[in-house]
Symmetry: D2
Subunit: 332 residues, 4 copies
């Protein structure tokens, strides 16, 4: 059986998703691409046999040749399209964040709950790190007891440069990954957070950069989240779990070691795509595979998207209040 997928949004993320679904995901067929920028969508469609283009995302959602929808449009439009998918009962994979605010996330959770009750959810959220083989191995090590009890997590996210945005957007657009992955690793929700400003990079004017956040999970573990979006030197995601018996860390992935010009080293990824190529591929395979087999999606749910949004809002409250610890509201 083949799952016919419609992709909304053909920017960097949407184009990447469409290409992955087409080239690497058995059982998926990208049938429709929607973007208000039709020529951009058409350029992506040209690389995908059988794909057609629509300007209207709602038309894609209701198309007869679309069994499931992947939403990769701008953050502000996510909720509208996800709710539209729910209305016609089609499964949807929504890029993170599910929505910029917890209130909007809650609307999705409620709409889905009204529709499916205790049945399999229709909404999946693209926190793809859960499918990165490195994070999976970290979680397995911890779960298997090899580390003893987790005591601290040090999570680091740095990129070469960032498009214009506010300090708050660093939290909702980037650190949101940490707000999902840390509690997932620990299997314990974030209950308390604080936000701190390191010295400001002299090259950055639009936002506080870097930022340091502290997360306390229900199990007592204290995590540091170091986010620096204009770090210049490379795309660098690190995670160390400090356990009572030993520690485990993500390795910086690379395939080649170079010896050149008095330096031994290897290249950083320039952005997230090579770093998380496996994660996106395996996430999309898991999503499509579960739908093809009629099974429950193993991806994060709308509720996970809501949880991360609540953490983000508590972090922003700490930012605005001078760095105090702030309790995270439980999802209602």
């Amino acid at each position: 059986m083949t799952l016919r997928v419609g992709v909304i949004g053909t920017g960097i993320m949407g184009a990447d998703h469409a290409a992955i679904l087409n080239a690497h995901v058995p059982g998926a067929e990208v049938t429709v691409l929607a973007d208000t920028d039709v020529p951009r969508a058409q350029a992506v469609a040209d690389g995908i046999p059988g794909a057609r283009v629509l300007a209207d995302a709602h038309a894609l959602i209701t198309s007869d040749d679309v069994d499931a929808v992947l939403v990769a449009s701008s953050d502000a439009t996510h909720v509208e399209y996800v709710l539209a998918c729910l209305e016609v009962g089609k499964p949807v994979l929504c890029e993170k964040p599910l929505a910029p605010t917890s209130a909007e996330c809650a609307r999705v959770v409620e709409a889905e709950s009204a529709l499916v009750g205790g049945g399999d959810p229709l909404v999946s959220v693209g926190f793809m790190r859960r499918f990165d083989p490195g994070y999976v191995e970290l979680k397995d090590l911890l779960g298997g007891g090899a580390l003893g009890v987790a005591l601290m997590v040090h999570s680091t996210g740095r990129s070469v440069s960032a498009v214009l945005g506010s300090s708050e957007f660093t939290v909702t657009g980037s650190a949101i990954h940490d707000f999902d992955i840390v509690p997932w690793l620990l299997d314990s929700p974030v209950v308390e957070v604080a936000w701190l400003a390191p010295r400001q990079s002299p090259d950055v004017t639009d936002r506080q950069d870097p930022q340091l956040m502290l997360l306390r999970t229900g199990d007592g573990v204290l995590s540091t989240v170091d986010v620096f979006l204009n770090a210049r030197y490379g795309y660098d995601v690190r995670c160390e779990i400090v356990g009572s018996r030993s520690t485990a860390s993500l390795s910086e992935p690379h395939r080649i070691e170079r010896a050149e010009a008095l330096t031994q080293g290897h290249a950083y990824a320039a952005d997230w795509r090579p770093r998380f190529a496996d994660a996106y591929r395996l996430q999309n395979q898991a999503w499509v595979g579960s739908l093809v087999r009629g099974e429950r999606s193993p991806l994060p749910t709308a509720r996970d998207g809501l949880q991360a949004a609540l953490v983000a809002e508590a972090v922003i409250e700490s930012m605005h209040s001078g760095g105090d610890f702030v309790r995270v509201s439980p999802p209602t």
Copy 2:
């Protein structure tokens, strides 16, 4: 369009290929598995929706629901099945080696040539290292001039332990990978070889282990090939290209760094499967994709299989003559 693939042989290699085709290769459908050990084949088939089992490989080859064949049976049977595929004009991907002897490889080359002439070849050979992202990056670096001119290659292949076999089998079954990948990296054929015996491992009785081979390619580059099949410590494949301006080496792939018991380190693969999982997946995707699109297969050809067999025979001649350099016969 879907390519219906029949897999001959359901040992470790065949089972792995069938699973990869089923789970990770868009456009492929594994329809038939053949093995004289029918229960073993059935166990593999149980994990693949729609696959059925045959005891007779020739019946698989001629089945109406098989568009292309993957041969992963024991080395000695390769030629028989590949020739049978040629007889019915079906594309075939044969695990390495194409055959244990160059004479048999030459029979395949001739049979294929008689059938397709200058057209697209039907036979592909599973030297999957050419699809390993690390080797690809090495070749790209060299081709792009980053290393200057290649002067030496150091290729190392070690495994934890080996099943019973002769010294010659180390050459035809393991080092054969190096005889393909080194000239591919350098884009120059192996013209001369020598075989040397390091001190024998006291734990090994069936063969000389380790072995050291020297390869001279047409461009003058001298390569060392260090093969140690009972190395105990892990599955470890290395390759360094020493260039006139700089060097590049494969990194030992790993995702997690551990700090435990007074050691900082990471795990080796226990065998080739995790190490070359990407290579097998990408090779099989490339093979299926080319067939689905009606394009020429980008995989190594029967002629590449013959070339590697000729190098292996020269190495064995050196082994039997006390380590002299031996010229490699050109393929006729």
Copy 3:
């Protein structure tokens, strides 16, 4: 010229200092060792040609054959011996901490100031990390502009296990190194600190372990100090300076890479001695060399010892107040 050194205290630290002075420091001669545990002192003296033993540290300080004193006795006795050295005008190198409290440190600063005024100080403090070649290279990189502007420092100190002690003793006995090295690296004093409790290790009962401290220096840089004394896995000191242009980190020192039992890795030091052997040697050489040449000691001063003690006291105040940020008192 030869500097005749008396060493007070012949526990692990004192024995190590005496051996280093004897074997690796040109110009130094260890003439007297003092310890209330005379047999222990004698065992050390047996390895040092010409060294004799005294039970009374004050007798050592006033001995005619002692030109300079190295204090490596228990922390609580440091001030008494340092003040006694000042009384007789002899140079003294005191192991860290100069004293457990800032008040005692201030007494030393005042006594020295009364004695030498603006002249060369007599008291040096053994914050040996300033002589570790790795920290020196870090400071040079930052000072030379290679990192851009420093924005964050991540300092980590972990050991296999700790002798019985309180949470406060982690701060005054271990983290005190970070309170000296971070402002030294940044050339900016610590002005504000906070102390946080990660999840408690279930194996530790005498103190909070691990601990996470935050330091704000006058330049705005925010530093994290992660101290875990019963980390089990090894002696592991890390330091990363995150700059606006690039980052630099201490490498984990090791000489040998091992491939064994499915692991590639290298050994951690079991304690601080191998890790900081170069630092102690170079520190002691610098101290003796400056005295032999009649130059000002390049080691940290009593004032540096006071500064670190003031930071420690602010950290402990934060510990007792539930993690609030606390201002560091300026030295008077």
Copy 4:
């Protein structure tokens, strides 16, 4: 007691030795420096309190204020000065090679034997790698059985660039280190060698560069020696012992890891001095210490120098005969 050392030759090596003796070797006093280039010698002497300069090395050797001699003049002069030291019965540490030819080395061995018979030797040879902590740890691991039985050694020596010299000079001036360290590690003499020419670097005209040598020791171990003097990328010395149970390799020493410009890496040494600073220091300490204590020097002897020269001559014979294996003559 102080050992008054005279240093012959004040080029890079001699200046370095004098500085090391002066700053890092307890018990040594550099009293005289000899060089036909007197201003060069004076410049070195200016940094060493109490050192004076002579133009005539023989005058240094016979000076009353010289107890022992370190010969760091050009290779061709070594034997003359070493023999002169023997004539006056003074201990001498001669930089490697002891002499360019085995015949000259044999003259030294004979002269020393005639003088001291079975007593403690007077001549030490500066194969400093035996004092490098990395090589020492390698030898200890092998000796302690951690690797099982040694089967192969891969020794690599690369430098940024070389001064003008012949192919033979690569052997006698650089690979000579490997001819000493490999049999020392294995505790077995080199009995057979071969020399092979990889592809020639297009940037090098004075000699074959790189070169690949094969050494067979009496225990059957086969070692590869890869020497590339104009490797451009850095000063890089590697050594891997492949054992029957596990392997151990020298780590590339570095103190700082940098993340910059899309690269994670660390610096290579530009030449041998930083790489082997510890080795030179510890070698010179061991030499001086043994003399001060009246003990037998733990450094390599004239006979070790002769052995390495005999290996070098066999390698050069192989070079001139087209790569055949050549037996190493036993020292007479």
